[in-house]
């Protein structure tokens, strides 16, 4: 009798646990089961919201924190199971130094990297997008190219101006070195008047970015996956020859 009672209780307990788990899942995801997949050799790095620099942004902002990204990139470089990296970009830009740090890290990875610009890859998102071995942009995505600027209190205006000028030169150099765009053309886009209302710069959409040579090709996930797999097999065959 007693044993029966215990068993029944146990069953009831399990059932309530199951339902609460189910309810939690529905609350979180709006669905009950999530697909499972086997191990992957391609990792995904998403650069979203604002690229956060030295100052922490208010919690309402979606941010990409470079102090999180840099160790991840090191882990990708070190892990022999990871053969390729896809970078998803939907960023409004942000801190120049943090963005350049990310771009340099991506550019110096030994593993094949492919970036996709989705929605927007503005401002400092541009060097990050071109840092990959091959870059894609979806037809509806846009990229804003504009000069480096600063908000807040400035102490020592001439010095700060020179500093910003050099910073801008670093951004330009990086983009020119890692994409097909010419320096003069990139500068022209950067300092264009009349494209952005009462601001200097240009907003280029999908195919235009490819036309200017900034991005390699128009395409989405399918193209990017194909490309990264192609680059991986190319790298492998080169290793065999060596």
């Amino acid at each position: 009798m007693d044993k029966d009672h215990m068993q029944k209780k146990q069953q009831e307990k399990e059932q309530t646990e199951q339902t609460s788990d189910l309810v939690q899942k529905i609350q979180q995801l709006g669905q009950t089961s999530v697909a499972q997949a086997p191990d992957t050799n391609i990792h995904v790095l998403s650069i979203i919201g604002q690229v956060e620099g030295h100052i922490q942004l208010p919690p309402q902002n979606k941010t990409t924190k470079y102090e999180h990204m840099l160790p991840q990139l090191i882990a990708i470089e070190q892990n022999p199971k990871i053969e390729g990296l896809i970078i998803l970009l939907n960023t409004v830009g942000g801190d120049v130094e943090a963005g350049l740090a990310l771009a340099e890290m991506i550019a110096s990875l030994s593993k094949p990297t492919v970036s996709i610009v989705l929605g927007g890859g503005h401002s400092i998102g541009v060097p990050i997008a071109v840092a990959a071995d091959y870059s894609y942009i979806v037809p509806t995505a846009t990229m804003t190219i504009h000069p480096v600027r600063l908000t807040g209190l400035v102490i020592g205006v001439p010095q700060t101006f020179e500093y910003l000028d050099k910073m801008q030169e670093r951004v330009i150099q990086f983009v020119v070195e890692h994409s097909g765009i010419k320096e003069s053309q990139f500068k022209e886009l950067m300092f264009a008047k009349g494209n952005l209302t009462r601001d200097i710069g240009t907003n280029i959409v999908g195919t235009e970015a490819v036309k200017h040579g900034l991005i390699d090709e128009v395409g989405g996930v399918k193209n990017a996956m194909e490309k990264v797999n192609q680059l991986i097999s190319m790298k492998k065959s080169q290793e065999v020859i060596q």
Partner: protein, 75 residues
């Protein structure tokens, strides 16, 4: 109440310091994640910081999941 102003919302209603400290990044079971302190000792996952796409399919790490994490026990 409607405020007609060119200022941003944050200029009028600045974020309190408590909002900053509520969010933190932790390493839980070897995965780093961004969590919110729920005051009852639990943490709610806000964002998973991983590059492995499979981690995002793991139901234990989906945003919104409550986890019990203790500072003293290092993961």
């Amino acid at each position: 109440m409607i405020l007609y102003t060119p200022l941003t919302e944050l200029d009028i209603f600045p974020t309190s310091d408590a909002d900053y400290t509520k969010l933190r990044s932790i390493s839980f079971k070897g995965k780093s994640m961004y969590v919110e302190n729920m005051t009852d000792g639990n943490y709610k996952i806000i964002q998973l910081l991983s590059t492995d796409p499979n981690d995002f399919l793991n139901k234990n790490y989906t945003p919104g999941t409550l986890i019990s994490y203790n500072d003293s026990e290092q993961h």
